[in-house]
Amino acid sequence: MPPPTIYGIRTIAEQSLKAWFDLNAGMLPGVQIHAGQTDDIRSVPIVILHAETALAHPDLGAFSQGNFELTVKLYVYSSADDSTLAQHRERVENVQAIMQDVSGLQSAWVAGELYSAWVVSDDEGVADRRYGNVLSYTLVAVYPPAP
């Protein structure tokens, strides 16, 4: 008997976001796209796609049946030595544009189904000669059905 398939919703979300951003890499020229808590070598400019939190969806009470509400943080960093603030903000706008195409993201979803995604916040800061934005999104998704 084959072992059961085990899913992780945060992994699915990050892999799906990575696939969708890779498809839209033309909108972010020269920008590295990383998923999650990667140990890859990082350099700016960079976008990090991190599924920070996955909550069992509250609408389903005690038995969420594989339905989750995720908080996804998209970190956009640029170096102030290499980029102007205007260039950095253009990257942030392009990240938002990629995320705004929910049907595209749904089509890139790698396992199960993405119901919807919407922006929650966009916070900007400057530190150590880096521009940085954190875009927060809510995603609602479900695991694949049982085989």
């Binding site: 609408d59 389903l60 049946q65």
Partner: protein, 112 residues
């Protein structure tokens, strides 16, 4: 001095049954007589009360499953071994949550 008491009292938890077209979230079961006749004495005090024709009014609310068929008003639905007539169906959605369906059900005493 008495020792700490760590005993528990068990209670009824969660729902009585399921419904196939939704993931059931709540139920509400109310029983009352449709016939409640009071007889008063000369001073207006109730001295006789006749209760008859029991009605069970139940509401079920759940999250609609994909591709599920919502039952029609007038159809039958069995919940917790009681066969009800569906008297009302509401189907509510929001733009950031799942669709919720609520059924209003009635069981009449003399209708099996």
């Amino acid at each position: 001095m008495s020792l700490p008491q760590t005993f528990g009292a068990s209670h009824v938890f969660a729902l009585y049954d399921t419904a196939s077209f939704v993931t059931l979230q709540s139920d509400g079961i109310s029983k009352k007589p449709a016939l409640d006749v009071e007889v008063m004495d000369e001073t207006g005090r109730v001295i006789t009360d006749r209760l008859d024709d029991e009605r069970i009014e139940t509401s079920l609310s759940g999250v609609l499953k994909t591709a599920a068929v919502i039952p029609e008003v007038g159809a039958r639905l069995t919940y917790n071994a009681v066969s009800y007539i569906i008297k009302g169906v509401s189907n509510d959605g929001t733009n950031n949550g799942f669709r919720k369906v609520t059924l209003t059900l009635v069981k009449y005493q003399e209708i099996a």
